[in-house]
């Protein structure tokens, strides 16, 4: 795919980092403010996605042409591992939501207080 025309970036690294920070903080707000367990899981996904943007942006902007060509993609690999962990996390998380829902008929985290004494 030749996208070199499109990706002659005139947008700097800090703009990408700012986009990542905005997504991260929206996800943080969702984790704090939402009642529904699935909404909280979605907010966590947003935060992981923001971290991925940072990995790829740093890899794109701070790279060294002298390094061996097969080692400059480390940021991409890190982002890939984050995606793998996010996929397993959401699978187990949604299974937990369904298991809790079967027992308590609710997905409201404010009602999940039966470990409280």
């Amino acid at each position: 795919m030749n996208l070199s025309n499109l990706s002659n970036l005139s947008v700097g690294l800090s703009t990408y980092l700012l986009v990542g920070a905005m997504l991260f903080c929206l996800g943080l707000y969702g984790v704090f403010a939402k009642k529904n367990m699935i909404a909280i899981l979605m907010s966590i996904e947003l935060m992981l996605n923001a971290v991925n943007i940072n990995f790829v942006a740093f890899n794109r902007f701070i790279w060294d042409q002298k390094v061996d060509v097969h080692y400059v993609l480390t940021g991409h690999v890190a982002a890939l591992f984050v995606i793998i962990v996010a996929a397993s996390e959401v699978a187990v998380g949604l299974a937990l939501v369904i298991a809790v829902y079967r027992n308590r008929q609710s997905t409201n985290v404010d009602e999940l207080n039966w470990l409280k004494w």
Binding site: S7, G12, L26, G27, F81
Partner: protein, 167 residues
């Protein structure tokens, strides 16, 4: 050209993320989530990460968003238009998230090392390059990720379906 595309899709991703956390209908939240993931995939393309953009669309938009939609449908109770409420302390959450954002933005804008433009990219990012890296330098984490995915699969099935107690 790249700048216009960047701003269109960055604003799309952020606006969709805003929709995720403010929408009152949780089904709308899930669909905004898919939109936000797609916007981020375009940002990956702009950063010459073609393979990651494809993975983002396949796993996030295609897999995770659909799984979330299924979980919502399985656990829905009551009125859908008020299925995604805020809790009592959402104001504190908004305050903490805003302060966090101000702090990160301050760090980003005061760090002169990060005020740089991109140099031309000559080192791939295709599936072949990344798979080579995964099978040489990162082989052990790659195998660990395979084990993690298998464990997550088994764990999700056991949690969601339950285990039959043997006599």
């Amino acid at each position: 050209m790249g700048t216009i595309v960047f701003f269109i899709f960055a604003i799309l991703a952020i606006a969709a993320a805003w929709g995720v956390v403010t929408s009152k209908n949780i089904m709308h939240s899930a669909l905004y989530l898919a939109l936000s993931f797609s916007g981020v995939a375009v940002l990956y393309v702009l950063m010459n990460a073609d393979y990651l953009a494809a993975v983002q669309l396949l796993i996030y938009t295609g897999g995770i968003a659909i799984m979330v939609v299924f979980a919502i449908m399985l656990t829905l109770r009551g009125e859908i238009s008020d299925s995604n409420p805020e809790n009592r302390v959402w104001g504190w959450g908004a305050l903490v998230a805003t302060l966090m954002f101000i702090m990160i933005a301050f760090v980003i804008y005061t760090n002169a090392d990060w005020r740089i433009l991109a140099t031309p990219w000559t080192s791939g990012g295709s599936a072949a390059d990344i798979s080579l890296l995964m099978l040489t330098k990162f082989m052990v984490p790659f195998e660990a990720a395979a084990v993690l995915l298998t464990m997550a699969l088994v764990g999700a099935v056991v949690l969601a379906k339950g285990v039959k107690v043997s006599k």
